[in-house]
């Protein structure tokens, strides 16, 4: 730090300090803050508040009743089950893809990076339709699946596949820049010290990427539970069997059962808030570690 920071120029001692050249005018600052706050209130906070107020519009008892409904319970269970399968699967896929891209160079690498982004750029409805065309009764593997008495489309495997597809990029996208920045030198150091590949992964690679991995998993989980489009195409909307929470919310809403629809929406919103809460808690809990990494967390 230079001395200039500590010796205050004469002008700074007067009460109305002249504005530094790097500072914006106060009016500009307040305008920007106001825009941000209004936007947040209007588009984020208000909808959330309405979801909660509608769900409790006819009292807590009516709200609670919804959860005795077998279809609702089935939807919640299915959503949690789908997330429980697709998030770990994408954790592994994402880790493998990020590892391959960040630590090795091979032909077709840029193509692979583009492919990882594909689920982000393709409409989820199209993704769902693709699965119907591939695994449906008239699809490419249709006869094989039928011959083995399996069902993919309009059943849980289809929902899981669609969810995995849609949520694939989250973990990989989070990890690739992180792992590219870190390079392979610490892993090489571990190898020269005698560590095996697996030891190197657990003791060096994983601790270095755990924050990125956590964010990726949380985002992936939020999307896996909330996915509508792709799942809607492959699910077949069989109540109590293939309806996830988002699908059940839509059905209830279309039946003018708004309390039930919003009650389930509260569950979904609640899961999202829990996710956010966990992330914030972990950040607060490990603030010292994050700071020790040079504060380069994004």
């Amino acid at each position: 730090m230079s001395d200039a920071v500590f010796t205050s120029p004469p002008a700074a001692r007067s009460r109305r300090r002249p504005r530094a050249v790097t500072e914006d005018a106060p009016s500009a600052r307040y305008a920007l803050i106001a825009i941000a706050v209004i936007f947040l209130l209007l588009f984020l906070f208000a909808p959330l508040a309405i979801v909660f107020s509608e769900a409790f519009a006819k009292g807590v008892a009516t709200f609670a009743e919804v959860f005795h409904e077998p279809d609702a319970i089935a939807a919640i269970k299915l959503t949690l089950a789908v997330a429980a399968i697709s998030v770990p699967a994408n954790l592994l896929f994402g880790l493998a893809a990020a590892w391959a891209i960040a630590k090795f160079s091979f032909p077709g690498k840029s193509l692979l990076i583009t492919l990882i982004d594909l689920p982000f750029s393709v409409s989820p409805v199209v993704a769902g339709l693709v699965f119907v065309l591939v695994f449906g009764a008239q699809g490419v593997f249709g006869s094989w699946i039928k011959a083995h008495h399996l069902q993919v489309i309009f059943a849980i495997p289809g929902i899981v596949l669609a969810t995995i597809f849609v949520t694939f990029p989250f973990v990989a996208r989070e990890l690739i820049p992180l792992m590219q920045e870190q390079g392979t030198v610490e892993e090489e150091a571990a190898l020269t010290l005698g560590a095996s590949g697996l030891q190197t992964f657990w003791t060096v690679t994983l601790p270095n990427i755990k924050w990125g991995l956590l964010y990726g998993v949380l985002l992936c989980n939020a999307r896996a539970m909330g996915e509508f489009g792709a799942v809607s195409v492959v699910s077949g909307h069989i109540r109590g069997l293939t309806n996830t929470i988002p699908l059940q919310v839509e059905i209830l809403y279309n039946e003018y059962n708004s309390v039930a629809a919003f009650a389930l929406a509260v569950v979904l919103a609640g899961l999202a808030l829990v996710t956010l809460g966990i992330k914030t808690f972990l950040e607060w809990r490990h603030a010292d570690q994050l700071a020790a990494r040079g504060g380069r967390r994004h």
């Binding site: 610490e186 090489e188 150091a189 020269t192 010290l193 005698g194 560590a195 270095n208 570690q289």
Partner: protein
């Protein structure tokens, strides 16, 4: 803590990165306990060679032997090399003590020392690298020189057979470099380990190493003691990369060396007729006293120094100036034409390998 030194033999090692040949037919013998520098400009293959010795790169052709035993196909983990990386590659999320203990803790259970032994060994190494009491710090809380010492302690913890250092002083400021240089010499003396380090700094190589391997474009230009490199450079690359040298463009005709219409009295050792370069050190040219002037130059500027006068002289027929220091009594005056003679010079053919680099080297 003296450790046993192992010999290293590299035999015909070649490695290509795509179309780029990083190492071309590199062979060298390193004696047990020797301190060897791999010296060369960037892209010369010196780091690649170090990585081949460590087992971090697998050569396309050729072999590496440790103490006569073929280690070419030995995995990095099994080579027991102490490798100090250019930017130290310390584990950021571990304390200094955990970094140093890492190589002992990852050993299979049966070979792993007890945790009390590991703690004792870490303490001993911290003392050895003069970092006592800093075991609980994280790498981010250390200075560059301290990190360098941690990296070295970590490498020594596994009782390596050889010690390899990649640009050990590259990331440090000049004053710390000087201190660490002396210190590395002491470490080498105390451990007795066969040590190979990579550097692009010829002063560093010459000051520290028993022998220096000069690399250029993936080839070994010369292997020798610092004195041999100074006194008997094997190629135009070596003479211009190691120490300061001036290159005069000349033509050789039947053993006669011609520069800008004058004949230079240099033994061509049977050099073929054609374009060549004459190299000499700034100290090997002086103002001629007798009638033996081979070159002539004009005094462009004069500057007084404690010992005499330093003259900047433009040689006739040459676009470069050089500085000659002479006693006050014999000093010329500004604008004078002065006769010059070479006391020592070397001649190499102009198309010699790596000549492009010479222009950068000077």
């Amino acid at each position: 803590m003296p450790q046993q030194g192992f010999s290293i033999r590299i035999d015909g090692v070649e490695q290509d990165f795509g179309d780029f040949p990083a190492l071309r037919d590199v062979s060298l013998d390193i004696q047990p306990g020797e301190l060897v520098a791999l010296l060369g400009p960037s892209g010369s293959g010196k780091t690649t060679l170090l990585r081949v010795i460590a087992g971090l790169n697998a050569p396309d052709r050729g072999s590496v032997y440790f103490d006569g035993e073929d280690a070419t196909n030995l995995a990095v983990q099994d080579r027991r090399v102490g490798f100090v990386f250019q930017n130290y590659a310390l584990f950021k999320h571990m304390t200094v003590a955990d970094n140093i203990a890492y190589g002992l803790r990852v050993r299979p259970r049966r070979q792993r020392p007890s945790s009390a032994d590991i703690t004792a060994r870490v303490e001993e190494l911290l003392r050895f690298v003069q970092l006592e009491g800093l075991g609980k710090r994280f790498p981010a809380q250390l200075s560059g020189g301290q990190r360098q010492r941690v990296a070295l302690a970590r490498a020594l913890a596994i009782e390596p057979r050889v010690l390899l250092l990649d640009e050990p002083f590259g990331a440090l400021d000049a004053r710390v470099r000087k201190d660490l240089r002396r210190w590395l010499r002491e470490v080498h003396k105390e451990t007795g380990l066969t040590t190979v380090f990579v550097t692009h700094d010829q002063d560093e190589a010459m000051e520290l190493a028993d022998r220096v391997v000069v690399l250029n474009q993936g080839r070994v230009e010369q292997i020798g003691t610092p004195a041999e490199l100074y006194d008997k450079p094997a190629s135009s690359f070596v003479i211009s990369f190691v120490g300061e040298a001036v290159a005069l463009p000349v033509t050789v005709t039947d053993g006669h060396v011609n520069f800008a219409g004058r004949e230079l009295h240099i033994d061509t050792h049977g050099l073929r007729s054609g374009p060549a370069r004459v190299f000499f050190r700034p100290a090997d040219i002086a103002v001629a006293t007798g009638g033996d002037a081979e070159l002539e130059g004009r005094v462009e500027s004069l500057r007084r120094t404690p010992a005499g006068v330093r003259a900047t002289i433009a040689i006739d027929g040459f676009d470069q100036t050089l500085e000659i220091e002479s006693p006050v009594e014999t000093a010329a005056t500004l604008g004078d034409k002065v006769p010059l003679s070479l006391t020592k010079a070397r001649i190499f053919p102009a198309e010699a390998n790596g000549f492009d680099h010479i222009a950068d080297g000077i």
